[in-house]
């Protein structure tokens, strides 16, 4: 299974292509595809977003579904999705509390 990820052009924020067609700041909102057809579609979306100067460094990455959550296979991508492991007060992991509170 794969999801489409990139960094937002204006601020470099790690983002994922979401089910609602936006680029979300949380991997949990990603659209997950499980076949070649889906991958090709996401790749086309990624290329269009790159050409449209919305995002940079577009990649399809491997993920697994664990307890209903989307978890990247590679540690690199897990760190991108959360933030630096040595500073849990930084990055997306620091915002989870805020999101829940909101």
């Amino acid at each position: 299974m794969k999801v489409l990820t990139a960094n937002r052009l204006t601020d470099g924020e790690a983002v994922w292509f979401a089910k609602d067609g936006s680029w979300a700041e949380e991997i949990g909102l990603s659209e997950v595809v499980g076949d070649k057809e889906g991958e090709a579609r996401l790749e086309a979306i990624g290329k269009a977003a790159l050409d449209n100067n919305e995002v940079v460094d577009v990649n399809l990455i491997d993920v697994e579904l664990v307890d209903g959550g989307i978890v990247p296979q590679r540690l690199r991508e897990r760190i991108r999705a959360a933030g630096p492991t040595n500073r849990v007060d930084l990055g997306k992991q620091a915002r989870q509390g805020e999101t829940r509170a909101a």
């Binding site: 960094n7 052009l9 204006t10 601020d11 470099g12 924020e13 790690a14 790159l50 050409d51 449209n52 100067n53 940079v56 460094d57 296979q73 590679r74 540690l75 690199r76 760190i79 991108r80 933030g83 630096p84 492991t85 040595n86 500073r87 930084l90 990055g91």
Partner: protein, 556 residues
């Protein structure tokens, strides 16, 4: 320190305006990422895992208080309240928005700083001994020559598109604190028998996937030929360095494949045509740059001895800090202070906005407005009166920068690794933090003695693992982090590349493995005075292999 002249001010301002326009056009979609990437890299802007990263040049690691205060301001206003000092004596901010970078660069320009040539295949920030101008063992201050090289190499039209990046380091003492033999060009400033200044020239050192120790191609190059000879080296490299393979493009590969002798011959031939050209430095020009680096007027402060004697009796922790983090100055009433950015369990090289501001205040009050960044990721106050050391220490205690661990096992160099870096394969910071915590006892660290531990999160070796007495290289194996250990590396005047000791260790094993290595050293050292590196050079890897892996062999 060097002050910008009108030309420098105009040049940096023009560059800020140019890059601001490029950012604006990129954000407006007028230029593509492929067009923009080389432009942003030329201005120090990378894209990392979580955000952009801005790398700011600190020429030869020298800062004044105003500049450091500005770095603190940038950390607070545009970033997340901290910066990371690097092994190139620079600073990196890990979270700036692209849209804020023009404003950051304008702020930097107001204090004579920039991010030019902190990336790309050009001549990078020239580094120097962090005790330059202060060290008791120094022949002359290497920084005027580093500044001359900086001026010459800035947007040099011939050397802006080299086969690969190019790094130069200069030291002014026999004791090499600038790791010159791991550089593309390493310069050792010295005097000949007539008392004239010149350089021993080393070429072709480097780390990365193919570590090489630089070869000395000239024992004494008169100072006036610094630029003509450097140009000759760069020309030979620019002409013959490989451009077909990124991994073979550094000058170290060219020197290795050509042979040092033949390479030196080619440089010599090129130099013959250049040595009497306009590149030959007039003495007046060298002395004019020298004048910028005139040492501060150090008044006699003989009361320091008594003040220190009393303070030592009063505070054991001060005494320990004095013994570990304070070194002899060329003026007997003064000392050079290492401010450790390696508090136990902290991130090597990180400083918060308020810590940067506090060090700036400290430098203004007690250190003649001078701060240095060391390639070992610490800050240095090069000139402090011994009589003021206790006050400086107390101040550092307040801001959490008084850890007395300079050159001990917790004074670790670590790259940002996989927690930030897009190139990394494994984390470095957490490994450094765990080792630091394991060896938290300063008493234990002092018993172990000098031990330089260096960690890189990928083979590019930003964390200098090849030349660590103990080196750790993080790799990715079957989707997991694995840490390879090398022993016996060193980056001083007797540079050596560490040897891989055996199979790697998982993230949960690496701290234990380091402890086993240290315990083995303590057991085999001839006496308490034999340092780790000396012991390793005497006995070789065998006892360490035995201690790390013997159990496995028996079990198998």
């Amino acid at each position: 320190m060097y002050r910008y002249d009108e030309f420098d001010h105009d040049f940096v301002k023009a560059r800020v305006a140019e890059f601001s326009d490029q950012v604006e056009r990129r954000l407006a979609g007028e230029i593509t990422e492929d067009q923009f990437r080389p432009l942003r890299l030329m201005n120090g802007v990378y894209l990392q895992l979580h955000a952009y990263m801005l790398r700011i040049a600190v020429p030869y690691g020298t800062l004044n208080a105003k500049q450091l205060r500005m770095l603190g301001h940038i950390a607070r206003k545009y970033d997340k309240g901290y910066g990371h000092f690097t092994t190139r004596q620079n600073i990196q901010f890990n979270w700036p928005a692209l849209s804020d970078i023009p404003a950051i660069l304008a702020d930097l320009a107001s204090v004579e700083m920039h991010a030019i040539q902190t990336s790309g295949n050009c001549i990078r920030n020239v580094t120097a001994d962090h005790f330059a101008g202060a060290a008791a063992d120094e022949v002359a201050d290497p920084r005027p020559y580093a500044e001359i090289l900086r001026q010459w190499s800035s947007v040099h039209p011939e050397f802006s598109y080299l086969p690969r990046k190019f790094k130069i380091a200069v030291t002014g003492a026999e004791r090499d604190r600038a790791a010159i033999q791991t550089h593309d060009i390493g310069l050792h400033l010295k005097k000949n028998e007539k008392g004239e200044l010149g350089f021993a020239v080393y070429v072709g050192g480097g780390q990365g996937r193919t570590p090489m120790i630089a070869k000395k191609i000239r024992d004494f190059l008169p100072e006036e030929h610094l630029l003509s000879y450097s140009t000759a080296i760069l020309r030979v490299y620019n002409l013959y360095g490989r451009r077909d393979n990124k991994y073979k493009a550094r000058i170290k590969i060219l020197v290795h494949e050509t042979g040092a002798e033949e390479f030196a011959r080619q440089v010599e031939a090129e130099w013959q045509a250049l040595m009497d050209s306009e590149l030959k430095l007039p003495d007046a020009d060298i002395r004019a740059i020298d004048a910028y680096f005139a040492p501060p007027a150090l008044a006699a402060r003989p009361e320091g001895d008594e003040a220190i004697r009393l303070a030592r009796l009063d505070s054991r922790s001060f005494a320990e800090w004095l013994d570990q983090n304070v070194v002899t100055h060329r003026h007997p009433d003064y000392a050079a202070v290492t401010i450790s950015l390696k508090g136990i369990g902290e991130v090597p090289g990180d400083a918060s906005d308020s810590q940067m501001e506090a060090v700036a205040d400290l430098a203004e009050k007690y250190a003649f407005d001078e701060i240095r960044v060391s390639h070992e990721q610490n800050l240095i106050l090069p000139h402090v009166a011994r009589a003021d050391l206790k006050a400086v220490y107390d101040w550092l205690v307040e801001i959490g920068f008084a850890t007395a661990n300079s050159n001990l096992i917790s004074d670790i160099i670590a790259c940002p690794g996989l927690d930030y870096c897009a190139l990394a394969n494994a984390r470095s910071i957490i490994v450094a933090q765990n080792i630091s915590k394991r060896f938290a006892s300063l008493e234990r660290q002092r018993e172990i003695g000098e031990l330089k531990l260096k960690i890189s999160g990928c083979i590019n070796a930003c964390g200098h693992h090849h030349v660590g007495h103990i080196g750790i290289l993080g790799v990715e194996k079957k989707g997991a982090e694995l840490y390879q250990v090398t022993l016996g590396g060193s980056a001083d005047e007797n540079t050596s590349v560490g040897e891989i000791i055996g199979r790697g260790f998982g993230p949960d094993e690496i701290t234990d493995a380091i402890e086993t290595i240290v315990d083995t050293y303590l057991a085999i050292r001839s006496d308490a005075g034999e340092k780790f590196l000396d012991a390793y050079r005497r006995v070789g890897p065998a006892p360490f292999k035995e201690a790390l892996y013997a159990g496995e062999a028996k079990a198998a």
